[in-house]
């Protein structure tokens, strides 16, 4: 029996959650999602606009309870980037067997990666590409590449049209990134995400880190044919500054010693002359 911890209950996350909850091998789900359901969410979500104003975790818990009354569901309306809850989050991750990341916020993905790596728990991540042309599903395992390795690799190797920077609004989102995916594309990628996650429960299945690139639409120069699934393994970046070989021998083990060492290093660099 497995305990899954999932972050994100948006339109894709809810599909993953539902598919996992239907698997009898899973007995407990911990769901982290701070957002409130808004009327515009109804277009791509399981819930109607009349649910607007309620927490997504509450709606998800009710959905799961109606389908599997025996499933233990823990709902945490938390923002995983909140520094105040990091210790509690780490405890929850330690109790879980595997993790699911269904958020589209880069900072949250890095944060979840860090949490899962520290507790040496496998986890999966689903990402729908702009416009719903396809998506990525990644499976991470202890000692495999981290999210930083994968992100670094993909930025280097995935060819994409270079958007022109709008210097009048340089921090604004690129128009191309705002093209929403349709519900079918979100559900398709979420289904692959659930499948890759469920494989982690199968002792005979391949448990290495892997990435699926799922092409859902034919796009010149990106996906020559669709639908099509490409599977590849992103290598661990030997010099990754996030998961690479840390100089642990030089690192103080105790928190107090770590703080003292940091204070000394910062004091040294405050007046380097």
């Amino acid at each position: 029996m497995a305990h899954v911890i999932q972050v994100g209950a948006g339109s894709g996350g809810m599909v993953v959650l539902d598919l996992l909850a239907h698997d009898p091998r899973i007995h407990k789900l911990t769901l982290i999602e701070p957002d409130v359901f808004k009327p515009h969410n109804a277009e791509r979500h399981y819930f109607p606009a009349t649910c607007a104003g309620r927490l997504k975790v509450q709606l998800a818990a009710q959905w799961l309870h109606e389908r599997r009354a025996d499933l233990l569901v823990e709902t945490l309306p938390w923002d995983i980037l909140d520094p105040q809850i990091q210790a509690d989050l780490a405890e929850r991750v330690a109790e879980a067997d595997l993790g699911v990341c269904a958020v589209d916020n880069e900072a949250a993905k890095f944060c979840f990666d860090s949490l899962m790596r520290r507790q040496r728990k496998p986890w999966t991540l689903g990402e729908v590409l702009s416009g719903g042309i396809g998506g990525f599903v990644h499976r991470f395992v202890p000692d495999g590449p981290c999210y930083g390795c994968v992100a670094s690799y993909l930025q280097r190797s995935v060819e994409a049209e270079k958007p022109r920077t709008d210097y009048a609004d340089p921090a604004g989102a690129q128009a191309a990134l705002r093209i929403p995916a349709n519900k079918a594309a979100i559900f398709a990628i979420a289904s692959w995400h659930a499948l890759l996650t469920l494989q982690l429960l199968d002792p005979s299945a391949d448990r290495c880190s892997t990435t699926l690139l799922v092409g859902l639409q034919k796009v010149d120069g990106i996906f020559d044919e669709a639908p099509r699934v490409h599977r590849f393994c992103v290598p661990r970046l030997e010099t990754c500054l996030l998961c690479g070989p840390p100089s642990q021998s030089e690192m103080p083990a105790r928190a107090d010693d770590l703080d003292r060492a940091l204070h000394e290093a910062l004091s040294r660099l405050e007046h380097p002359g």
């Binding site: 980037l81 520094p83 990091q86 880069e106 900072a107 890095f110 944060c111 860090s114 520290r118 981290c146 930083g148 390795c149 992100a151 670094s152 930025q155 280097r156 060819e159 994409a160 270079k162 958007p163 920077t165 210097y167 340089p170 690129q174 970046l237 010099t239 990754c240 500054l241 996030l242 998961c243 840390p246 100089s247 030089e250 690192m251 928190a255 770590l258 703080d259 060492a261 940091l262 290093a265 910062l266 040294r268 660099l269 405050e270 007046h271 380097p272 002359g273």
Partner: protein, 141 residues
């Protein structure tokens, strides 16, 4: 992962960022070394660069969720309005999804010293632009 309030952030500083700054400082005159000060829940790097004939004072801010969020660099020395300069004299250095290794922030590969070097490269371009009114790096246009 807070830079100064999480174990992960502190370890990143102690094993990656601060040693990189010390290495950078080791080969420079005192006036051109990086000073590090605490800034809200992040860090501020204060330093001077001389890409050609002029000195420029700069600040690079490492916010709480650095290195996921790229560092932000501001030139304190007054500059003439020019391309790739944002409000508050913030340098336009990073672009999400860019294929150019020098204009894409990569937390798995870059340290804050890379941001300092990027600022040096930006200022070198500025000095050329100041004379020619042409930004010398085509991919940045």
């Amino acid at each position: 992962m807070g830079l100064l309030d999480s174990q992960e952030g502190k370890k990143r500083l102690l094993t990656v960022e601060l040693p990189a700054i010390e290495k950078y400082n080791a080969t420079r005159e005192p006036a051109y070394r990086i000073r590090v000060v605490r800034y809200a829940d992040g860090l501020l790097l204060r330093y001077r660069l001389r890409p050609a004939h002029n000195d420029y004072d700069l600040e690079t801010r490492l916010y709480s969720n650095y290195p996921v969020t790229p560092p932000e660099t501001v030139v304190l020395t007054p500059l003439e309005p020019c391309p790739h300069l944002l409000s508050g004299q913030t340098l336009c250095l990073w672009r999400t999804g860019s294929l150019s290794a020098t204009s894409r922030w990569d937390p798995a590969k870059h340290t804050c010293v890379f941001a300092v070097q990027a600022a040096w490269r930006w200022l070198a371009c500025y000095e050329v632009w100041y004379v020619t009114r042409q930004w010398p790096l085509p991919e940045a246009r």
